[in-house]
Subunit: 356 residues, 2 copies
DNA sequence: CTGAAAGCGCTTACAG
DNA sequence: CTGAAAGCGCTTACAG
């Protein structure tokens, strides 16, 4: 692979001059510039980013450590992060923590070793010593979606409180009184906040959130299945299951289906995080949608501000409720209502409509 | 950030010795090793990967350029690639081409500039000059899923021919005779192959694949919607739509739903690429499943073999048909069959079963 | 076993 | 406007 020396030789100038034209330095003669550019062309020269980074101490690279790439929410987040970063002249390296603190540390360490200019993280846990050290060492950092309390790092996230309140209002209006939640890990802020918001909203309606109705999940599908099975085994099962993320909702759906039960007739289901497929599930799933793309872009802007010496800003954007049919509402107008179906074994107070 | 010099000073040895213990070089006294390790600990020293790469001319990094991260198939592929790479001591940097040749080139260039050790690519098109140059220049490369004909690069992919044959047999058995396909871009091998396999399978049953029944999509949801609308507007619409990937199937579903039509009663649907949500759509979607994780792992192994001087191997794994209900088969046993529903406006020869 | 030195490919004051 | 030189943080023959 041609190096700057080869270009210099070919153009008959020094490497300093080559470097200057490559970096658009003003003081280069038109003649020198032309000869260098020609040499670059004939040699197919491309500057070695590794050498450049070593010299300039900047990689123009952002690290993004997310909890789970397979989760469509994080996939979309990653995509918007890369887009905005590219627009601002940065590349991004993604590390997938898979909800495992040890893997998260692996990626943070790897990214730090590569001397990325800044780190975007959606922490899987309360903050490992490594992560805390990185913050203390002054690594430009921004938390997205989840954050670590007590750490001086800007946070870009969605506030789901109002949407959860809307959800509970919707459920209460449908006549549901026994509401359960599949929670995310208590070590994550989103894990805690969603339960807290749900409980607070229930209280506003004079409803309780008994221990039995809080299932401990880990944001992955399998835990949603397991927790839902537990709910269904209860002497008095809940009428509604609210999954704190879309993957656990998938697991819940699997569990309900495995018992030959129906949503929403036998049990209603709602999820935090909306995805395109929720429109087409049987039935379409009521969900709380985050402004994912906006979050990713805002996070990149905050991080790049920090990197480039401008004051970074924390951002909180509202999530919103998207009502569909998984909690028992009436069929939408575009589909003709089918004939009444016999009541299901364990009737809920909801209008029973078959899903055709 | 502490450098190797600081460690040397702290340990009272030369940087050469520090480097040796860091790289597990045998000829270091136990005493020196201990002092270095202690110094590393107290300084929290981490070797600068950028400097190391410049010196050793290897980054222990693989580039992965995929067509679309938002496609669950590629997400899973990316995940398995990262896992296997990590197991073999490599990191991976993902570039998302978003089915755009220009973006693909952007990422390839970026990755090459970073001097990745090898490149895994699922080409969006027939091969840009840049990509061809990279191959000619000797960049270790392996194609995954899609490939570029006539280029001397190992290919790791799934063979869907048998599965497509099984699908057509299934459809034919159900009485369907007018089968249409939403094709992927003709510039991609998978775009072409799936149409070819479909056509061949149809011929085996004495069926034709008329031009009208080949809709040109681009592997993204919106094109699936558009093409499906076209099919539905035909004087004689097809009885079955086979989407060449899961995203276009999503779009097809959107289009069918927007017309107030039902799958499979009004039109049957099948997709290439299976995803967990297909179990829960209304109705569950019949799909051709690729051994995605295996493909990702095999691709990494081939690339690392090539990088480390072993002969790389092309790998072809079979895809398989997963029959569900979107083409009209009878309801599965675990769900009691509901009462007969009135025939739909445009009846197909298929047994009509409502989906409840 | 250990250290001094060269060199990877760049960038950037410094001097002219 | 241009070039020689230093230096970024490592690794690795080479000599001892």
């Amino acid at each position: 692979m041609a190096s700057i020396k080869d270009v210099a030789a070919e153009a008959g100038v020094s490497v300093a001059t080559v470097s200057r034209v490559l970096n658009d330095h003003p003081s280069v003669s038109a003649d020198a510039r032309a000869r260098v550019l020609a040499a670059v062309g004939t040699l197919g020269y491309r500057p070695n980013a590794v050498a450049r980074s070593l010299r300039t101490d900047q990689t123009h690279t952002l690290g993004l450590v997310i909890s789970d790439v397979m989760n469509p929410y994080f996939t979309e987040l990653a995509r918007s992060v890369e887009e905005e970063a590219r627009a601002l002249g940065y590349s991004v390296i993604i590390g997938n923590a898979d909800e495992r603190p040890d893997l998260q540390d692996h990626h943070v360490r790897n990214l730090l070793d590569r001397r990325i200019d800044g780190l975007l993280v959606s922490p899987t846990d309360g903050g490992s010593p490594l992560m805390l050290d990185a913050v203390r060492a002054g690594t430009p950092m921004v938390f997205v979606d989840r954050w670590i309390p007590g750490v001086e790092v800007p946070v870009v996230r969605a506030d789901g409180e109002a949407a959860v309140r809307d959800l509970v209002a919707h459920l209460h209006g449908l006549g549901h009184r026994r509401l359960a939640i599949i929670a995310g890990p208590a070590a994550t802020t989103t894990g805690q906040e969603r339960v807290a918001a749900f409980r607070a909203a229930l209280h506003a309606y004079g409803l309780d959130l008994p221990e039995d109705y809080i299932g401990q999940g880990d944001f992955q599908a399998e835990s949603g299945r397991r927790v839902t099975e537990g709910f269904l085994d209860l002497a008095t099962p809940p009428e509604v299951v609210f999954a704190a993320d879309n993957l656990m909702a998938l697991g819940a759906l699997d569990a309900v289906r495995a018992r030959g039960l129906r949503v929403p007739d036998d049990i209603a289901l709602a999820a935090f995080d909306d995805i395109p497929w929720f429109v087409h599930t049987d039935p379409p799933i009521t969900a709380i949608a985050q402004p994912t793309g906006e979050l990713g872009r805002a996070a990149v802007r905050a991080l790049v501000d920090r990197i480039e010496g401008r004051p970074p800003q924390s951002v909180t954007l509202p999530a919103r409720l998207v009502v569909r049919r998984s909690c028992g509402e009436t069929a939408p107008p575009e589909r003709p209502a089918p004939p009444e179906r016999p009541a299901s074994p364990q009737p809920s107070p909801v209008t029973n409509r078959s899903q055709t």
